[in-house]
C-alpha cells in the first residue's frame, strides 16, 4: 500500500512541475531577495549617517551641458567660460593650481579664473537695482525701512535660498560639499556679474527683479522691519505733518480682569482715527495701534498696492555709480 501511495505522490508532484514548465515560466520574487535586501539595509544603517556625495561624482554627469542648460533654463544667454568662472571659488582655484604645479604643468596655462571680481560687480548691480526698485515701489517708507528691506533681500539666507532653487548647488566648484550659504550667496552675485558681462546690464536688472525682488511677493513688511519705538516715531511724524498730537482711546474691551483680556485701542490725532490695535493689556494694545498707524502712514499695510514685478525700471534712474 505504501508503495502505491508513494508512486501516486510522485506522479501528483510531477504533474504541477511539468505544468509549470509548459506555462511560460512565471518569474516570482525569489525567496532570497527580501532577506538580502534587509541585510544590506541593516549594514547601511550600521555605517551611520553618510556625508551626501556630490551629484557631479555620478557616472552620468557632463559639466558643459549642465552649464548650457543652466543658462537656457532661465532663458538668458551666458558665455559658458564666463559662467564657469562664476561658479569656481577662489579656494578651489588655488587648490587646483597647487595640484597642477605639483604635476609640473607649465606656469603659463595655469590660470584658472575665480569669481571674486564677478561677485563684486554682481553685488554692486543687485544693490543698486534693489534700492531703486524699493524706492519706486514703496515711496512713503522712510529710508531706514527701505534699508532694512534691501538688507533682508541681500542677506545670505535669501540669496542662498534663491541660488539653490536655481539649481547651482551641483555646478559650484568649491572645496567643501554641500557648499555653505556664503559660497552660494557669492555664486549668485557672480552669476549676476557674469550675466551683465555676457548680455548687458538690462538683462541683469531683469534677473535681479525676477529672482530676488520676487521674494517680497505677498510678504508682510512688518516681519522684515518693525519700527522700534512706534509711539515716539508716530509722535514725531504727526508733528512733522502737523496732524495734531496722537492720543490713544479705548474703543472696546472684553474679559477685562481675566487671563484672556482683549483691549481694542484706537489712536486719534485731533479727532481723526490714525490706527487701531488689539492687545492683552492697554500698553500692548496702544503699541499695536501705533504700529498700525505707522503702517497706514507709510503705506506698508497688506492691502497696499501690490509689488509690480513686470515693471521695466529704466537704467537711468538706477544709479550705478
Amino acid at each position: 500500500m505504501s508503495l502505491l501511495r508513494s508512486i501516486a505522490g510522485v506522479i501528483a508532484l510531477a504533474r504541477p512541475i511539468n505544468s509549470a514548465t509548459t506555462v511560460q515560466t512565471r518569474r516570482h520574487f525569489k525567496r532570497w531577495v527580501s532577506p538580502t535586501l534587509r541585510e544590506l539595509a541593516h549594514r547601511v544603517k550600521k555605517q551611520g549617517v553618510q556625508k551626501p556625495e556630490p551629484r557631479s561624482g555620478f557616472v552620468e554627469w557632463n559639466y558643459r551641458s549642465e552649464l548650457f542648460a543652466f543658462g537656457k533654463r532661465l532663458n538668458e544667454d551666458f558665455q559658458l567660460p564666463l559662467l564657469q568662472t562664476a561658479f569656481t571659488q577662489r579656494t578651489y582655484a588655488h587648490q587646483e593650481q597647487e595640484r597642477q604645479r605639483k604635476l609640473g604643468i607649465a606656469e603659463a596655462d595655469l590660470q584658472m579664473g575665480d569669481n571674486s571680481q564677478l561677485a563684486t560687480k554682481g553685488v554692486h548691480i543687485a544693490k543698486a537695482y534693489i534700492e531703486a526698485y524699493l524706492q519706486n515701489a514703496l515711496p512713503k517708507v522712510p529710508p531706514v525701512g527701505q534699508q532694512a528691506i534691501a538688507s533682508y533681500l541681500l542677506s545670505t539666507e535669501t540669496l542662498a535660498h534663491v541660488c539653490t532653487h536655481l539649481g547651482a548647488k551641483e555646478l559650484i566648484f568649491s572645496t567643501e560639499y554641500p557648499p555653505s550659504s556664503e559660497t552660494l550667496a557669492q555664486t549668485l552675485h557672480a552669476i549676476i556679474g557674469a550675466l551683465s558681462d555676457s548680455s548687458g546690464v538690462e538683462r541683469a536688472f531683469l534677473f535681479v527683479r525676477d529672482f530676488i525682488c520676487t521674494q517680497l511677493n505677498q510678504k508682510d513688511l512688518l516681519e522684515i522691519w518693525t519700527p522700534e519705538q512706534p509711539l515716539q516715531l508716530l509722535g514725531e511724524i504727526c508733528t512733522q505733518k502737523k496732524l495734531g498730537e496722537p492720543e490713544p482711546r479705548l474703543l472696546g474691551d472684553c474679559g477685562k480682569n481675566t487671563v484672556l483680556a482683549a483691549y481694542h485701542v484706537g489712536i486719534y490725532a485731533n479727532r481723526q482715527l490714525l490706527g487701531k490695535g488689539f492687545g492683552e493689556d492697554l500698553q500692548m494694545a496702544t503699541e499695536t495701534a501705533a504700529i498700525d498707524a505707522l503702517q497706514t502712514l507709510f503705506e506698508m499695510h497688506d492691502d497696499r498696492q501690490p509689488f509690480d514685478f513686470r515693471l521695466q525700471l529704466e537704467a537711468k534712474n538706477v544709479r550705478l555709480d
Binding site: N62, K72, R73, N75, H161, H165, D210, L251
Partner: protein
Amino acid sequence: MSNSHLFLKSGFPRAPLQNGVGRYVCQLQRLTLKFCKNNGSSRGMRDFIENHLVDFAKENPGIVVYVKPRRHRAPVLVGEYLNGDREWLSVRNSTQTEISKWIDLLKTQNGSSSSLRLRKMWHTDVPSIQGPWTPFLLRSPDAHNQTYPTSEASQPLDVPQTATEKLIELFKQQQLEADTVLEQKRAE
C-alpha cells in the same frame, strides 16, 4: 519610534521660489533614461530614444538629458528637480507614446507630487484686504461704556402695536389733518 514617516505626508499648495511671479522657470533639471539594449521590456524606451529624444532635447534646452544603457535591467525614468526632489518612474513594457506622456508629466511638475496629499486647493498669504471680521467690528463704540442691564436693551423686540397705541396714533393723525385744514382756510 513613530512610523509617521512611512505614511503619506499632507501639505498645502506651494510654488518653489515664487515661480510664475517674475517669470516661469521649468523646474525639471535633469532627466535620466536607463534601459537595457536588448531586453523586450525596454523596447518602448529604445523606440522613444531613437525617434523622439532628439526633438525633446531640442525643445527643452533647459533640461539635461542622460541616457544610460544597462544590461539586464528594467527601463527607468529618473527626474531630478530644482528643489532637490528625485522622481523614480519604472516604464517597464510601456510604449513610446506612454513614455513621452510620462516625460511630459515630469517636465511640467514642480517636484514629486505623488508623495504629498493636498489639503487645500488654493493658497494666499494676504487673505483679507478690508480687515478680517472681529467681534469689535460692528460694535458701536457707545455700546462699550454701557453698564448692562439697561432698560432700552432689555425691551422685547417686534412687539406688535397694542390697540391703545394704534388709537393714539390715529388721533394724532386726525389732529394733524385738522390743523392743516385750518391753516389752509386761514391762508385763503
